[in-house]
Subunit: 153 residues, 2 copies
């Protein structure tokens, strides 16, 4: 099993997760921006997801409802920058906690030989928010993403 | 002349500017979301501004070109949350420095007697970015906003 490196910055309210995938950046990026693929790995098993909006381009936005697996509620955010196969910068807020606004950067780095390093950085405005949000779920999701990438043409 | 309080956090890459206005929240908010008003106070005198996009609602985005007064270039961002007369949460990036992403919150607080306290919070992912961006321009803009608010019906 691949290891995800999780870096919790001591001096900044930032979490950084670094993970490598045995697939080229085009595929890993596609699994983030295509809702039909995104839904297959980014949520817990047994969680039902409804995309009320998912316009993954620079200046677009999203609103997603989740139900099941102990999760119930909606989240929303904006896509600040989307650069194909390279970068997604977006905001994220759970509607149950509207004061929590997370600024996320997903950077896709081509390692050659059909491999990709993904660096996911989350910035919030307090250490309390950062520590409350630190989420093992994303790392589990990356294991499902490994499987999905094997199936993708 | 009104004083703006500028708070540079020692422990977080955050700047907070607090300023009071002799106008109710509805007017101060309108001066932020109506491009015809926004253009009259938020830029230096002599700077020409073109709104290529300015869709100031939750999930909207903007792209603005500026020219003159020593400024030349475009900026863009997304409106993560826009709550009438209360709150604007948005991102901001100068296209000349695409790695700089600023998360801004503008909170409009009703002080009664037709007065408003505006708290503008800027969060970035490093202290270097924060200190480079610390901008007296916004405070000057607020003096022009005072004048504009007097003229608004």
């Amino acid at each position: 099993m691949k290891e995800a490196e999780i870096i919790v910055d001591e001096n900044l309210p930032v979490t950084r997760i670094i993970r490598e995938f045995d697939a080229p950046p085009e595929k890993v990026f596609r699994a983030h921006v295509d809702p039909d693929l995104f839904v297959r790995w980014n949520w817990p098993e047994g969680c039902s997801v409804r995309f009320d909006q998912f316009d993954c381009r620079t200046g677009g936005a999203y609103r997603i409802a989740m139900s099941g697996a102990g999760i119930e509620g909606t989240v929303h955010g904006s896509f600040h920058d989307v650069i194909a196969d390279e970068l997604i910068v977006q905001t994220f807020t759970p509607d149950a906690g509207p004061d929590l606004v997370i600024l996320e950067k997903h950077r896709f780095e081509d390692l050659g030989d059909g491999r990709t390093r993904l660096t996911a950085t989350s910035l919030v405005e307090s250490f309390e928010h950062r520590d409350a949000f630190l989420d093992a779920g994303l790392v589990e999701g990356y294991e499902r993403l490994d499987q999905l990438l094997e199936e993708l043409a």
